[in-house]
């Protein structure tokens, strides 16, 4: 085992899958000689050549459209969108095409493209280098939405995504690209898509999170234990679609209290979907209303990002609310 950052784990994951299967190709802006603006593809072009690690022109619809064509032809393309904020020129290709190819052709034309993209705030990136746009894609049947929070899961989930039969939006929490380190097995392994992880076991409150918010939730859970003696379980969803509903309901039924953390704007966010599922299927077990801690319904600000992003203080406040209801 090696201790890697989340970013290194992504790099290792790509390299491992490319060595394993020559159908795997990467494409995107600045991913070749530059190794990606975050260095996720560092060294890959050198090892696998410019035909498998393709620096594309600056056009996201072109990147995803050509990736779809490659997948239809039998390759396993792993396009990178440099920042999730720049995915929108490819929205049509993803939502109308990629996600619907299998269905609309009666299963004849599956299109297993794995789109990697760094997402999220906390890096002083302002409007266009900070968004968490998972909700648009969770709302689109036909594409899986996967978000790791640890180096181990990043590599293992990426392997599952690349080996899988379905299109995947693989969102990488760039805020913790370098700050979160962990043990990562060398060589091949997979972490299954569709299974949540209990990042911290607890009994009184369930905190649901994903991506970089998992770590903020963990900090809050620790503080709640230390400062207030409240035991929180942190559930790291890992896959938003498909959702591990069983794990969610199991935890909620145990604790009866739920805080959901989501850094995206509140209205129409995935936290709302989770709340509805809990309300529909676990209301009998609930001791308090569900509380969401989310970004606000504003575009992502620059100077005030610290006030926009959910933080431990706001999560602790929510824990208080559900405990003292």
């Amino acid at each position: 085992m090696a201790t890697l950052t989340l970013l290194q784990a992504v790099n290792d994951g790509l390299r491992t899958e490319m060595r394993r299967d020559d159908r795997v190709v990467c494409l995107g802006e600045d991913i070749g000689i530059n190794g990606g603006v975050f260095r996720a593809t560092e060294g890959l072009q050198k090892e696998f050549g410019a035909e498998r690690v393709i620096d594309t022109p600056l056009a996201e619809s072109g990147i995803i459209g050509t990736a779809i064509g490659m997948a239809l032809y039998g390759l396993k393309p792993v396009p990178e969108i440099q920042f999730m904020d720049f995915i929108y020129p490819a929205f049509d290709q993803i939502v109308s095409e990629l996600a619907k190819f299998r269905y609309r052709s009666g299963g004849q034309f599956p299109s297993p493209v794995v789109i990697r993209t760094p997402y999220g705030g906390g890096i002083k990136g302002g409007h266009y280098h900070s968004q968490s746009a998972e909700a648009y894609f969770c709302h689109t049947p036909g594409i899986q939405v996967v978000i790791p929070s640890t180096p181990h899961d990043a590599k293992g989930l990426l392997a599952s995504a690349i080996r899988g039969e379905d299109p995947v939006l693989f969102m990488e929490p760039k805020r913790i690209y370098r700050s979160i380190k962990g043990e990562v097995p060398e060589g091949e392994y997979t972490v299954p898509i569709g299974k949540a992880a209990i990042a911290r076991p607890g009994t009184q409150v369930t905190i649901v999170a994903w991506g970089s918010m998992t770590h903020i939730a963990l900090e809050a859970a620790e503080k709640a234990q230390e400062e207030k003696g409240v035991s929180c379980e942190v559930l790291d969803l890992r896959s938003l679609v498909p959702l591990d509903k069983a794990a969610l309901l199991e935890s909620v039924k145990k604790t009866g209290r739920v805080v959901i953390v989501c850094e995206a704007p509140r209205t129409g966010g995935y936290a709302g979907e989770l709340s509805a599922i809990i309300a529909e299927e676990a209301i009998d077990s609930m001791e308090a209303p569900i509380v969401r801690v989310t970004g606000f319904d504003t575009p992502f600000p620059y100077t005030l990002e610290h006030a926009y992003m959910p933080n431990t203080g706001r999560i602790l406040k929510a824990i208080d609310t559900v405990v003292n209801f």
Binding site: E29, D30, G32, I33, N34, G35, V37, D55, T56, P57, L58, A59, E60, S61, G62, D85, F86, Y88, P89, K124, G125, G126, H127, Y128, H129, R266, T267, F296, D297, T298, P299, P301, Y302, T303, L304, H306, A307, Y308, N311, T312, G313, R314, K317
Partner: protein
């Protein structure tokens, strides 16, 4: 086939008389001074970033002539849809260093209220339209503004700026197509600085030039030496005159070079040879124009010093002033999302401010006024 590159000032400062614009001495001095302003702001911006005073910076060194020559060829009432590498277009139209730095610092005084990353300026009264990070989005918008100007018969025209990389996006192509179809009074202005982050022009297009693309959309395109401020001026002026006279769109490609990194987060040593940078350093746009001014008998050593000293003094004074300015209030985050705040957002705002007032979320407030 190779595309002809228009030049007015040869590298020794001598002139191709046929293309030389007739500009007043005052105008020539303003062109030079604005180019100096751009370079000085650039040095300051990178320094402020390196010393941790601002979070990010996009340098535009090497492209001073491209920015300034283009905006100078327009009328004051013409609209600009620029990119993040066009501070010179704002400086030419009178933006102060204080305003520009207030933006880089993300202060309350920033025109954009600290909401965008540095270099994403917006100056309503200068018709310098708010800059977006997503590449090429401004291009069809600029065409729409030009269509509106045509409808209103104002004789105002529009210039939209873009990088070489920007010409690969779909928005570039639909913008060009609409402009051709509607004969919109617009100048498409591409600063081809040879690189889009780490991707060289050859990785962006197989076309012999960028300007040749205009032909397919039904209007003329020219390529000029973008480090020659007078060549840029002449070409853009001609395109602007044509648009104003009802002749429709034109395309101007300025060949230039991004001397610095793509941004403060980038390291060009990873992808481009130092020799290439050196080659372009020899073509420095400020040096070139200085040679011209010398030949015209306008430039003196004393004036050079006065210009730089004056610009640096302004910049240092502005930096001092801006460093003393405060950040935006936390409440201001909720303004301007819509024309008025809807109840659900008002609730979000109230609950955040209420917590902060109670001091329960101290970690959020800190030095920030509510």
């Amino acid at each position: 086939m190779t595309t002809e590159v228009l030049q007015v000032i040869r590298s020794d400062g001598s002139v191709q008389k046929k293309l030389e614009p007739t500009l007043s001495e005052e105008m020539l001095r303003k062109l030079y001074r604005t180019m100096v302003q751009v370079r000085a702001l650039d040095e300051k911006g990178m320094l402020l970033q390196r010393t941790g005073k601002i979070g990010f910076y996009v340098p535009s060194g090497g492209q001073e002539a491209s920015q300034v020559g283009a905006v100078a060829a327009l009328d004051a009432g013409d609209w600009l849809f620029p990119t993040y590498r066009d501070p010179g277009m704002a400086l030419w139209r009178g933006a102060s260093f204080r305003e520009m730095l207030a933006h880089e610092f993300g202060c309350a005084e920033d025109r954009s209220k600290g909401r965008q990353m540095p270099n994403h300026y917006a100056f309503r009264e200068m018709k310098y339209v708010s800059i977006s990070s997503p590449i090429a989005t401004q291009i069809p918008q600029a065409v729409g503004a030009a269509m509106a100007a045509k409808y209103r018969k104002t004789k105002e025209i529009v210039l939209t700026s873009m990088g070489d990389g920007g010409t690969s996006e779909g928005d570039f192509h639909c913008g060009m197509n609409f402009a051709g179809v509607y004969k919109a009074p617009i100048v498409f202005y591409c600063q081809n600085n040879q690189w889009a982050i780490s991707v060289p022009l050859s990785g962006q297009t197989a076309s012999e030039s960028i300007s040749v693309k205009a032909k397919a959309y039904g209007f003329p395109g020219v390529t000029v030496d973008g480090n020659d401020v007078l060549a840029v001026y002449s070409a853009v002026r001609q395109a602007a005159d044509r648009a104003r006279a009802g002749g429709g769109p034109s395309f101007v490609e300025a060949l230039t070079y991004r001397m610095g990194p793509h941004s403060s987060s980038d390291d060009p040593k990873r992808y481009r040879p130092a020799a290439e940078e050196e080659e372009w350093r020899q073509k420095d746009p400020i040096d070139r124009f200085r040679n011209y001014l010398k030949k015209q008998g306008i430039w003196t050593e004393a004036w050079e010093k006065e210009t730089w000293d004056g610009v640096r003094a302004d910049l240092n004074e502005a930096t001092k002033q801006v460093e003393a300015l405060g950040p935006p209030t936390i409440s201001s985050m909720f303004d301007d999302v819509w024309s008025s705040i809807p109840p659900v957002l008002q609730e979000q705002k109230d609950s955040l401010i209420e917590y902060l007032k109670k001091g329960e979320l101290k970690d959020l407030g800190g030095a920030f006024p509510l």
